[in-house]
Symmetry: C2
Amino acid sequence: MTADSSDSEWSTSEERIMEATHRALLRDGYAQLSISRIASELDQSKASLYYHYDSKEDLLLSFLEYVTDRLESNIYTSNDESPSQELEQFIEMLLPLQLDDTESQLRAAMVELRSQAVMDEKFRKQFTEIDDRIVDHLERIIDRGIDEGEFRNVDSTRVAEHIFATFSGVMYNRATTNRENAPAAVRVALSSYLNKDLMKR
Amino acid sequence: MTADSSDSEWSTSEERIMEATHRALLRDGYAQLSISRIASELDQSKASLYYHYDSKEDLLLSFLEYVTDRLESNIYTSNDESPSQELEQFIEMLLPLQLDDTESQLRAAMVELRSQAVMDEKFRKQFTEIDDRIVDHLERIIDRGIDEGEFRNVDSTRVAEHIFATFSGVMYNRATTNRENAPAAVRVALSSYLNKDLMKR
């Protein structure tokens, strides 16, 4: 796992392009996304975007790095909570019971974008890194809970991978089916599992 | 949930087209799939395929129905096992520790195909039905286990949804990342969860 992108600094113009990509993804979805739409979102010429990025693929890979960095800064903030509170908050962030329209559309666009990773090794690498970071974070919370005596002495890697697979499945199925009751059922089952198997009683 | 496609009968020529679609997906992946490739796989003219299907989309939707029917006939065979054996076998089918190349490629192609469901309601409906059937089957096994006293009196819907989300996440992440150790970790965590929370001891 590399730490490159957490160290990367985003110039103001890069950030503006990334935010415009985000808005264009939300408005038009992945299939419609193009350098010209992002340029017109920014009131800039296509040429000005090609100055920063060689291709749409290049821009999208940068966008994934940007999302990863933002994720990182969102999750590494809280340290006052107990491990169980931190875990609960992180799970609520990953697997919210309700998604507003914007969040739903962004997750749906990420599912479309992620399908590129089936065939394209560059996208695959970027999603591997995103997943590694989320699982690492889950693992750190669980290890802290074990150290502080709040959690049982579980295999933190396995529990973290299990929580992460559950989250991924819910996100994926939410974006690709109309099974509207499934996310809540999974969330309740996951909480019950963690209460029984992870928390000391 | 509809039961239409389980009753559907496939003509010999439709079955040949579906098998050719399967082979073309395995060989070339979803992005390269076209009516002409399937036609040449069959040594037939494109026109002969358009006789059965209006468009590539129409053919792919049929292919999904075909996969659903095949899934159905694969899973409704075993009745001699105990509920825990049946559950274990079904989980091994969904979430095998090892995938051979063919099975890997088919699952990867399904992930690509499924990304159509983010924006296309017809694909969404078909994947909703596929998921409903798998979850229903899991639920029936769990209910039988409760009735026969092998399983605890759990909420079978929630446990089925949790197992299914876990499976979906592993399949999705396997196809889109290089995190090769994740599936085995999840599988062990899932078994341990089921042993503790589902099985009576």
